[in-house]
Symmetry: C2
Subunit: 195 residues, 2 copies
DNA sequence: GACATACTAGAGAGCGCTCTCTATTATTGG
DNA sequence: CCAATAATAGAGAGCGCTCTCTAGTATGTC
């Protein structure tokens, strides 16, 4: 029933991702996405009711895709390997997903979608929940292992430092150099395990 | 000769800084700056020929203001103290200049001014030169002292890590907690001096 | 083959923003 | 007090963007 789609939601989000990654959110208009996709703007509004909804969907899709590996890394039975693995995941994922990493790390949610669309319900609230829970249980594992379980320290070692380590490269649009893996590993160990 | 100014350039930049810091660059229109200052938009265009010129001026003023302390810290005769001091300066300056720090750390230049105005000449090119030169000579001092002189390491320890430590708080709009000083100090020492 | 349906296609209304332009007002030097 | 000047004041032209609306087109079902 009905004709087959020429422009799928995913294809539109892919185009949006390209445009955001190389022009920034401010230059990402429905028109520019349409041009990149060689589609009329009407076809885009057929899938996404508003610009904010489109950009919010892009954000969600990108965040989801990046979470998987982090969760797996934290599940490692050895606490220290789990910590280092989670920290390194950010770097590795950035290397293998340059465009998506640029979106996730160089801009904040509010810069993509000015207003979070009501249609998305509590999607935003639940989006980071798996990661938050994983970090919560992981913090307890750290405490049990005699490592630092200070939330500030954990966030610093597992999120902020890896983020900072890749940022410079992402801004330049190039893959992070190998050396940053070493720096992230070293910092993570020092901060959490004092080794 | 002529009437005295009601709205000085600096007052306009102050208003712009407030608006950027709490609404982001995209919401910072000439109208919103004017409203915050209770001035008509014409008075703003009397001082700044374009939005880009205004935002670029704000960027320059903010960057200049933050550089001073970094340069002083790096001039310390003891290499290790100089390194730690430079790294900590970012944190301390963020604490004492929350609004300006939000502008400098949460957004990039291109997000403020889409096109760098030609009127500003090579201001942009020379803006960071003092800091770059200081970091260059400082890297040689590190090498002479037997510390790590890898440019990636130096940038990581002196810029990226402090930035990472502070970002979370700046996003939340609060001053960075005391604990981050310790984390920055620890990381800086470990990465550069291995202690 | 005809009908319902899912989608493409793009013109244009409306809006908010930048920037221009002209009129007016305050201040200073002679 | 009187020019000359430096600045305020705000209306509105023009532009690009979002979003709407209507018409047309391909595809599956009976």
């Amino acid at each position: 029933m009905g004709r087959t789609a020429r422009f799928s939601s995913d294809a539109i989000l892919d185009a949006a991702a390209d445009v955001v990654a190389d022009g920034g959110p401010a230059r990402t208009s429905i028109g520019s996405i349409a041009a990149h996709l060689e589609a009329p703007s009407g076809s885009i509004y057929y899938r996404f009711a508003s610009r904010d909804l489109l950009m919010a969907s892009l954000w969600i899709r990108t965040a989801r895709r990046s979470q998987q590996g982090a969760l797996e890394a934290m599940a490692h039975p050895d606490v220290e390997r789990a910590a280092v693995g989670a920290a390194l995941h950010v770097v590795r994922w950035s290397r293998s997903h340059l465009t998506e990493a640029r979106i996730l790390m160089l801009y904040r949610r509010e810069q993509l979608a000015a207003e979070w669309p009501g249609e998305l319900g509590d999607e935003l609230a639940t989006l980071n929940r798996p990661l938050e829970e994983a970090r919560h249980t992981f913090t307890r594992r750290l405490a049990a292992a005699g490592a630092s379980a200070n939330p500030t320290d954990v966030a610093f070692a597992l999120v902020d430092v890896p983020f900072a380590a890749v940022r410079r490269s992402l801004v330049a649009g190039t893959a992070p150099p190998r050396r940053v893996d070493e720096l992230v590993r070293l910092t993570c160990r020092t901060v959490l395990f004092g080794t």
